[in-house]
């Protein structure tokens, strides 16, 4: 097995998929010759040529609209949106079209694609190179949303996303593009969608379930290590697929610990954390020993200078975990 970072693992998955299936087409701004502004598609243009790795004009609506047409006709497009913050000029194509095509055509015209896009803050990107818009897509019926936290999962989840029959938004946490490293098997494998992973098990009676994903998973782990020193044990669930989420794993863990803290970068109000807390209340109410808690980005635009204050980093997760444990 090779050591890879997130960028290399996603690149590897794209290469494998393109080799195995000539319907797979990568398209987007700067994805060709330079291999993307984060180099995720590096080398693909040279290997597969300009008909399969397409440097498109600067139009997200154009990219996503034409990708839908390609998908309807039988290709498997993998459009890249340069930053998730720039998906909104194409939002109409996703919300009004992509998400609803299967339904409105009575199942005759599903449009299958995987939209890749970097998300998240911590890279001095300011308002428009930092956002985490997952709940704006989860709220729309018909879309699946994935967010890996490590190279192994990234490759396996991307290959699984390509095989899944539904459109998938594949959110890549850019803050850990190069920092997250790990063993990645050669060749084909998948990590199933809608399966969370317990990355740290709780021990003892003073335990808290922490649900996190993407770059914030590492912050949750850092907070858990500190909490351990204060006698609080964390069970950390890496959600991996944000929708449809693996509610069984979350509920099973909460039944065990009786406590839950959800962490995400997106603003709190109407964020995925709110949905998870509602689900836990509905499905595990009698097991709860403390109010469910959210540690999230604030309900503000994403700031530039104060971004480290904005983000729900370990320094904010730790007190929430300890308070929930000691409730």
């Amino acid at each position: 097995m090779a050591q890879m970072n997130l960028v290399a693992a996603i690149n590897d998955a794209l290469r494998l998929a393109m080799k195995a299936d000539d319907r797979v087409v990568v398209m987007g701004e700067d994805v060709g010759k330079v291999g993307g502004v984060f180099r995720v598609t590096q080398g693909l243009y040279d290997e597969f040529g300009e008909d399969r790795v397409i440097d498109t004009p600067l139009s997200e609506g154009g990219i996503l609209g034409t990708a839908i047409g390609m998908a309807l006709y039988g290709l498997l497009p993998v459009p890249e949106i340069q930053f998730a913050d720039f998906i909104f000029p194409g939002y109409d194509q996703i919300v009004s079209e992509l998400a609803k095509l299967r339904y409105r055509s009575g199942g005759e015209y599903p449009a299958k694609m995987v939209i890749r896009t970097p998300v998240g803050g911590g890279i001095r990107g300011g308002l428009y190179h930092s956002q985490s818009p997952e709940s704006l897509f989860i709220h729309v019926a018909g879309l699946k949303v994935v967010c890996p936290s490590n190279p192994y999962d990234a490759k396996g989840l991307l290959l699984a996303s390509l095989r899944d029959p539904d459109p998938v938004l594949f959110f890549e946490p850019k803050r850990i593009y190069r920092a997250a490293r790990g063993e990645v098997p050669e060749g084909d494998y998948t990590v199933p969608l809608s399966k969370a992973k317990v990355v740290r098990e709780a021990q003892g009676s003073k335990a808290v379930t922490v649900v996190a994903w993407g770059a914030m998973l590492y912050e949750a782990i850092a907070a858990a290590e500190e909490a351990e020193k204060q006698g609080v044990s964390c069970e950390i669930v890496d959600l991996r697929t944000l929708w449809p989420l693996d509610i069984d794993t979350v509920v099973e863990s909460v039944k065990k610990t009786g406590r839950v803290v959800v962490v995400h970068e997106a603003p709190r109000t109407c964020g995925l954390g709110g949905e998870i807390v509602a689900l836990v209340n509905e499905k595990a109410f009698l097991h709860l020993e403390a109010p469910p808690c959210r540690v999230t980005g604030f309900d503000t635009p994403f700031p530039y200078t104060l971004e480290m204050d904005y983000l729900p980093l370990a320094h904010r997760i730790l007190p929430a975990v300890v308070a929930t444990a000691n409730y």
Partner: protein, 370 residues
Amino acid sequence: MSDDLARDLGLFRVLEDDGSARKDRPAVPTAILLRGYREMRRLRLIDAKMILLQRQGRVGFYGACTGQEAVPIATGLVLGEHDWVFPALREQSVMLVRGFSLVQFVAQVYGNAGDVQKGRQMPSHHSGRTVNQVSWSSCIGPQVPQAVGAAWAMKLRKDPNRPVSIGFLGDGATSQPDFHSAMTFAGLYKVPAVIVCQNNHWSISVPTHKQTASKTIAVKGRAYGVPSVRVDGNDLLAMYTVLSEATQRARDGHGPTFVEALTYRIGAHSTSDDPTRYRSEDEVEAWRKKDPLDRLRKHLVHLGLVDDASDAALEAELTDAINAAVKKVEELPLPDRDTLFDDVYAELPWNLREQREELRASPKAPAHGA
């Protein structure tokens, strides 16, 4: 636009490569030439300094306009105090020409307590109410219909100052639907707007000929009934002449103009970019020979308005002013973390008041990279 300027979308130029001016072109006042030269020099020095500071890790990002200075500087020279500007990434300097302070300009790049935007935006995203320059998001395109809307309002209100609204965009941005909406509205409602596209030949790694099958960018304006011209954007005199005429037309109630300014991005797209990965040094070198500052300098030397001694003195003066501004800005503190919640709404709703308390009670955040 007069028939002469609009002729068949041919390229309008005043300055030849050797710095001589065409005889048949309108004269530009000497004071304007000297002011333009000074501002272009200052801008080039500011950009070089900011890129250096970014490399030293003292600022987080920078988007320079090196090689494209004639476009924003000519704009600043032409505009009056009531006019409005909707910039994209490479027109921040219009504010400086219109009197915005250099210290505040540099403070925006640092995003600290001296920044009128309170450190909310990435560097190179300046705005300022005092000079009617509107805050740009980062998103490519949306400012263009906004510029048209401001112009429309100026017309609807019959503003006695007869202001104009200027919207900027790059060649890549003309692929965005927002550009086309802007042109549709501008043409139909004959608004006092001038839309200026800086065709710098690249949209990050995508060359203009891979961006569109249109032979020119200017022709896109014509389709919407907006008079459109192509100008040598590396020629301050040509830019000044065309923008003067276009803004006058707008003020006189004759409607919008679309200007394609042909220029070239000599440096990287931004400090996050490495252009050697997608374009040849030969191409860059060919454009260096058409450098707008060099061409203007040759012209001014020709006219006896500039020489080596005056240049050296100017450069020293401007460099001192820039260094002094940087020093002043570096002494300023970061914005207080409470300010995170200000300006989301005019007044803080309960959720933000609660979250502000939460932040006040939480430990100090780690520094970047910690």
